[in-house]
């Protein structure tokens, strides 16, 4: 339960911090949530292996230590990440994807690993009931954690204090668990607590890292609110308020305050009651008070923001000003005031939440709250000289929604475009400065001086043209503008949807592969339920918000209701004594019906009383959906039980992957493009498919396994054996190899010989030799047994075959060239954009596919052709190499490196087109000259030293060809091992063994 609390509090804490660092729109929120769920699911999969390993208890303690320290470390890394960007810029989509994946991975993996470990360890029972037990307690912990965070921590604690709370909580668990048996761990926990407490007091990480969020500007004030970080910075006479890392207002910009107020109020001869929504910091309130108003209601959605704003500028000085904190829509709906003017200054419709202030329904509420001759205005990002397609679509979508309610709309063009709308009784006039002169209102910016230039006929007609694109209406239940804004944002950040779509496709493929391998309808239903539950939660929360406005604590309670439903459902499933199969099937059908029923409710929602929807229907449906999902999880654990750890991990992974897919797809695409009704239909259809599958499934698929308790056996990886040999010959070979390496290095690195080496490398004869050897390599890899090359491989000089020597010497220049003289200082990676390609860059398009082809046959290139491989082989022979395998961590690391390489490949290509030298990290690489750098040589030496300790360290960890080939080899071994019963002849060949046992490696 404590782990559940810790997980959910960390999730909320990290996602809020990540939003402050990365900026937040619906796509980014979906991505962050998706990354979180994905890593947690993968963590569960890894935890499964640990649970079946030698010392799961020790692993659990280690992981508890890790998750105790990680929130603090992640907070620091996240904030410094922002400091590492070019000041003022938000990261691009690709940086966000990679940054979020890297920063969130450690915690999520560890927390995911704990779930199956805890399931195995924390109870003596070893049946499916234990999975349910763990699930129920985890969910109850999540409810408590969510409520604790929303009602206590967010209000009273800074992020680092919350992280400290998490540390104490995790280490308290360690203390309780280990006090009796493992005193060392307990003492370590106490020491860590003490060290952390002293360190936090001594170094004050909150203050130190906070300035990174605002690029080192002096921080005057900082508070956390439900919507995120509120930071007030001050530079000279100007104060800026940052909300989640984005400036939302500043003093000292009279133009902003005047534009919010005067364009609308100048239309009214004598406004008495005015409502201002946000924007108080710009001085808008004092601008309103220049009119003979009787009352100004200033509504700020965030109470902390209101408090901060009223501290910066004394809002309460005038008795006519009423300060209100709360959701503006809720205020409009529940207030019985009617206004002469409503002035809104909210941010762009980045999220569905903010989009509520640009919908037809909202404009209707505004119309109702206005007097007949009242005026309404809001600001929107506009255009100065030209509007691109995305901007026009965005403006047109908002304009179409506005004009569907207000027939008369005036657009004042500019960088900050202002829409002024009124009913038929209030004709609108563009001659605003004249009206202000008549009213005797003094202004600084809204005067002929500037206004005439911005309202010239050509600019007015351009503004009108920009809103005249055919665009769908923006509605509460179909927030199209949110999606249009996403496209606008992508255009602005010079990104596209390729990366998120690839991520979605990748997760979908992963999910389908997992489901296909298991071929179990039950697991497919669990994944689909994870997807549907995520969607239903989003839909219900949107419906709730459209009725009752956004109230943070209400939303927290609703999520708690969903989780409580899940816990209750899981408990019911745990205590169910009948056969689980039919109940599971009925629940699946039930979830499909809930989704389809919600579709009807969404369509009928406008006609239903608000109290019925918000108090009864939404909580009830949330609890029901949660209950179904929780119960299904537990029943599924009984149906597919293969051991506590295995089952818990498998189902957890599938549930998380389904939810991850939901987080990415539903909020970003499905809801904005299809609307709530379509979303519900899709969710119902997804569940309908699994329900139908369950109905048609053979009875065996829905019955419990015969044995309730299955031993968990995961054989430890076989440790490879070492080789021996004639030591003198071995050392001689190694000596020659190193000499060739060093001589090549000198030839390439020394300025006097380098031009000669460069010219030589482009000589047609040399290129011809390279191609010939590549050909021959592929030819050898064919392994045609009757061809003469069969015996040539056994001609050895020293400890290498003739062909290895030949390959080594010929490829040495091409392969080592980038190591010593890469234009980008990182060998092999940037050849596709390199303006001064070396020979490797030229042959890379052929050598990479060529060697991958060769490697189809037992990594032929790696062991017969690659010069780096030859060096590492020799090192392997002259050393003992104690580090042979790190199991899945090695695989994880090499996959991470591979992913990084793929990312860099595409990122650099992208950057080179859109502005290469403007990025810091790029500039660090792009030094515009060939030169030998200390870093490259140092890394080469490090790899060489590592080669003495670890068999083929470079190939296993860094080389992309090695990683891919290793993966292919494993697949092949897996396929070979699958068909028949295990026998010595067909036993899977452990790659580690293949790598290390050099004397016995298969020769062609």
């Amino acid at each position: 339960m404590c782990l559940g609390i810790s997980a959910v509090v960390t999730q909320l804490l990290m996602l809020r911090e990540a939003l402050a660092v990365f900026g937040g729109n619906e796509l980014i929120i979906g991505l962050l949530l998706g990354v979180w769920l994905l890593w947690t699911g993968i963590g569960a999969l890894l935890g499964q292996r640990l649970a079946g390993g030698r010392a799961p208890g020790a692993w659990l303690v280690c992981l508890l230590f890790s998750i105790a320290l990680m929130p603090t470390a992640q907070l620091i890394v996240l904030r410094l990440f922002r400091g590492a960007l070019v000041p003022g810029t938000l990261p691009s989509l690709s940086v966000i994807c990679v940054g979020a994946a890297l920063v969130l991975a450690p915690y999520c993996l560890c927390s995911g690993m704990i779930f199956p470990l805890a399931a195995v360890l924390l109870s003596p029972r070893k049946d499916a009931g234990q999975v349910a037990h763990t699930y129920v307690f985890d969910t109850v912990g999540s409810i408590l954690g969510g409520l604790l965070f929303s009602f206590v921590l967010v209000r009273f604690c800074t992020p680092f204090q919350t992280a400290a709370f998490l540390l104490y909580l995790s280490l308290a668990i360690v203390l309780v668990q280990t006090w009796r048996q493992h005193r060392i761990a307990a003492v370590a926990a106490v020491l860590v607590i003490a060290a952390f407490s002293v360190g936090t007091i001594r170094f004050n990480p909150e203050a130190r890292t906070l300035s990174a969020l605002v690029y080192g500007q002096p921080v005057l004030y900082h508070r956390t609110s439900f919507s995120g970080h509120i930071i007030v910075t001050g530079t000279d006479e100007q104060v800026t308020i940052y909300e989640n890392g984005i400036p939302t207002g500043a003093t000292g910009d009279p133009a902003a305050g005047e534009e919010i107020v005067h364009y609308a109020l100048a239309q009214h001869t004598a406004p008495k009651k005015v409502l201002l929504v946000s924007g108080g910091l710009t001085g808008a309130v004092s601008e309103i008070l220049k009119y003979p108003v009787e009352r100004v209601d200033y509504v700020e959605p965030d109470p902390v923001m209101l408090d901060v704003t009223s501290r910066v500028i004394d809002l309460e000085r005038d008795p006519r000003v009423q300060l209100v904190s709360g959701d503006p829509r809720r205020f409009l709906r529940h207030g019985d005031n009617r206004y002469d003017a409503i002035l809104v200054n909210l941010s762009e419709p980045r999220t569905v939440h903010v989009n509520r202030f640009y919908t037809v329904e909202y404009f209707k509420e505004v119309r109702r709250a206005l007097r007949d001759d009242g005026v309404f205005s809001f600001t929107f990002p506009g255009l100065e000289n030209y509007a691109g397609r995305e901007t026009r679509l965005l403006l047109s979508s908002v304009y179409a929604s506005l004009t569907s309610v207000f027939p008369d709309v005036l657009i004042v063009p500019g960088r900050r475009q202002v829409f002024v709308a009124a009913g038929p009784q209030r004709p609108l006039d563009i001659g605003i400065p004249q009206r202000l002169r008549t009213l005797g209102i003094p202004t600084v910016y809204v005067r002929d001086d500037y206004f005439r230039a911005k309202t010239r006929p050509d600019r007015l007609s351009q503004a009108q043209e920009a809103v005249s694109m055919p665009a769908p209406l923006n509605r509460d239940f179909q927030p199209v503008t949110c999606y249009v804004h996403l496209k606008y944002w992508l255009r602005q950040s010079q990104s596209n949807l390729v990366l998120p779509l690839t991520a979605i496709a990748g997760i979908a493929i992963l999910l389908i592969t997992l489901l296909y391998r298991q071929r179990r309808v039950v697991t497919a239903a669990v994944a689909a339920s994870g997807f549907a539950a995520m969607g239903l939660k989003m839909v219900l929360l949107i419906i709730f918000q459209s009725y009752s406005g956004y109230v943070y604590h209400h939303i927290s309670l609703l999520i708690a209701v969903f989780m409580a439903g899940a816990a209750a459902g899981a408990a019911c499933g745990r205590w169910l004594r009948t056969a689980p199969g039919p109940v599971f099937r009925r629940l699946d059908i039930g979830l499909a019906l809930i989704a389809l029923g919600l579709c009807t409710l969404t369509a009928a929602a406008p006609s239903l009383p608000a109290a019925l929807v918000t108090v009864v229907i939404v909580p009830l449906l949330l609890a029901l959906a949660g209950g179904v999902v929780g119960c299904q999880f537990v029943l599924a654990s009984r149906l597919v039980f293969t051991g506590v750890g295995n089952t818990a991990a498998q189902l957890f992974l599938l549930d998380m992957l389904g939810a991850c897919l939901g987080a990415l797809v539903i909020s970003t695409y499905l809801i904005p493009l299809g609307g709530l009704v379509t979303t519900c239909i899709v969710l119902g259809a997804v569940k309908g498919v699994t329900a139908l599958w369950l109905l048609r499934a053979a009875p065996a698929a829905l019955t419990e396994p015969a044995k309730a308790t299955v031993p968990e056996v995961i054989p430890p990886a076989a440790m490879p054996g070492g080789g021996g040999g004639r030591r003198r010959q071995v050392f001689a070979t190694f000596g020659v190899i190193v000499v060739v390496f060093v001589v090549t290095g000198i030839l390439l690195g020394w300025e006097r010989t380098q031009p000669w080496a460069y010219a030589m490398s482009f000589h047609p004869v040399y290129q011809g030799m390279l191609l010939f050897l590549l050909f021959w390599g592929v030819f050898s890899a064919l392994d045609l047994k009757r061809l003469p090359n069969r015996n040539w491989a056994s001609w050895r000089l020293g400890r290498l075959t003739v062909f290895q020597w030949l390959n080594y010497v010929v490829f040495a220049v091409a392969v080592f060239f980038p190591i010593f003289r890469c234009y980008f200082k990182v060998p092999y990676l940037f050849c596709h954009v390199c303006p001064r390609k070396c020979i490797f860059g030229v042959i890379r398009p052929f050598i990479i596919p060529g060697v991958l082809l060769m490697n189809i046959r037992k990594r032929h290139w790696c062991y017969h052709g690659c010069p780096i491989g030859a060096v590492l082989d020799c090192e392997a022979r002259v050393s003992r190499q104690r580090w042979r395998s790190l199991g899945f961590l090695r695989g994880l690391f090499s996959l991470a490196v591979l992913a990084l390489i793929v990312y860099v490949y595409f990122r650099v290509r992208d950057d080179f087109y859109s502005g290469p030298i403007t990025d810091n990290w790029y500039e660090a690489l792009f030094k515009n000259s060939y030169s030998v750098t200390a870093s490259v040589v140092a890394i080469s030496v490090l790899v060489l030293i590592l080669g003495f300790l670890w068999v083929r360290a470079f190939c296993d960890l860094i080389c992309p060809v090695g990683t891919v080939s290793e993966f292919l080899l494993r697949r092949e071994q897996h396929a070979r091992a699958k068909p028949g019963p295990a026998s010595p002849a067909s036993a899977p060949e452990e790659p580690g063994q293949f790598n290390s046992n050099l004397e016995d490696r298969p020769s062609p």
Binding site: T89, P254, L774, P916, T918
Partner: protein
């Protein structure tokens, strides 16, 4: 199955390796024979040119063709382009081994602005100016206010057919005294600017270029023959700032300013002050010193306030105090005409006579107030204020 027989899996693998090897080798040999390694020098957007050239395409000036490669010598980006490649500026493509401009007579944005908006305070004050811009830019400023034009391809924007002769006719018909090539970077529609400027000059219309000054020497000297005035954005005074924020280098911009000065073109300098990135007063002091020493103390300078825009959205506005400090430093360093822009508080907008310190031109935003200057720019004290006044 006998040990020596080839299994189906082995056979398929052999076929895959063999076919792949042949394809790979064939491709390599083909490439070696046909192209050779020299084409790997290409920069810019490869294979991004439109299928066919339209009516607004012309053969570009300022390029050299070496074999299959074309080297654009218009700006210091010095793109090396192969067939069907598009330059870094997005406005120049290679077709038939010739460099073509895609922006000859198809501006995407045209407006009439007050000349003070450019800003030009010593050039025909109070008059209107016809402003044109085409898509594309040779810089990548992260705070570009016109990013929808500058970071777009001409093929993607909605353009207006306005060939040089029609442009001049339109301006003449409206009775506007000058044309500004502005908003995006006029250097990238060089041929259009040049031809329109020649015709405009013949028609008695002045030509103004609002530019970042990132251009090679020879093209600029030629353009100076037909341009009457320029406003040059000196975006910072460190190479680091230029590389980090604009994707360009500082040195060519300074050289361009020197050339404008040598060629006698009237120009004013705009310096945007971006908080935390380019608001160091020492840096401003160094810049002012350089202007006084290398150019002239008579060059007007506009310190402009930064507004969050495009990708630089999380920095605050430039505080008034910083702008005022910059103005004080510039005055202290000997610059005679120092202004503050983008600040609606009238501070630093008027022109004062450096001799008698009298306010000779009064400005209210973009509107001209009272002026004491004579037709040739003489103050009542006899001091001549430099600029183009007629």
């Amino acid at each position: 199955m006998k040990e020596s027989e080839t299994s189906r899996r082995q056979f398929i693998r052999c076929c895959a390796v063999g076919a792949g090897g042949l394809a790979c080798g064939g491709l390599a040999v083909h490439q070696m024979i046909t192209t050779g390694p020299s084409t790997d020098l290409r920069t810019g957007f490869q294979d991004d040119a439109p299928e066919t050239l339209d009516q607004w395409s012309r053969e570009a000036s300022w390029y050299v063709s070496t074999g299959e490669l074309v080297r654009c010598e218009l700006c210091p980006q010095l793109c090396i382009l192969g067939e069907n490649d598009r330059g870094y500026c997005r406005a120049r493509v290679v077709k038939d081994q010739k460099l073509h401009t895609l922006t000859y007579g198809n501006p995407c944005s045209i407006h009439v602005d007050p000349i003070e908006k450019k800003p030009l305070f010593h050039f025909l004050p109070g008059s209107e100016i016809f402003s044109v811009a085409t898509a594309g830019c040779n810089l990548r400023c992260k705070n570009c206010q016109n990013w929808e034009i500058s970071q777009a391809r001409p093929d993607d924007t909605e353009n207006i057919d306005l060939l040089p002769e029609r442009l001049v006719e339109t301006v003449q018909a409206r009775g506007i005294p000058a044309i500004a090539y502005t908003y995006s970077e006029p250097i990238i529609f060089y041929e259009y600017v040049h031809d329109a400027a020649v015709r405009a000059r013949q028609a008695g219309i002045k030509n103004v270029m609002v530019t970042a000054g990132y251009i090679e020497e020879r093209p600029l000297r030629k353009l100076c023959q037909v341009i009457d005035a320029a406003n040059v954005d000196l975006k910072g005074f460190t190479d680091r700032f230029y590389r980090q924020i604009t994707g360009a280098k500082l040195e060519p911009v300074l050289r361009a300013l020197q050339i404008l000065h040598e060629e006698g073109v009237w120009f004013e300098i705009t310096r945007l002050i971006v908080p935390t990135l380019s608001d160091q007063l020492d840096d401003i002091r160094a810049m002012c010193g350089w202007i006084v020493d290398t150019l002239s103390p008579d060059v007007p300078i506009h310190f402009s306030r930064f507004h969050p825009a495009y990708q630089l959205k999380t920095l605050p506005y430039t505080p008034d105090a910083v702008l005022v400090s910059a103005k004080d430093i510039a005055t202290e360093m000997g610059l005679k005409y120092v202004y503050i822009g983008n600040l609606p508080t009238r501070r630093g907008q008027h022109t004062f006579c450096p001799s008698c310190n009298r306010r000779v031109i009064e400005r209210h935003g973009y509107l001209l107030g009272h002026s004491l200057l004579g037709e040739s720019g003489d103050c009542t004290c006899g001091e001549r204020i430099p600029g183009v006044w007629l």
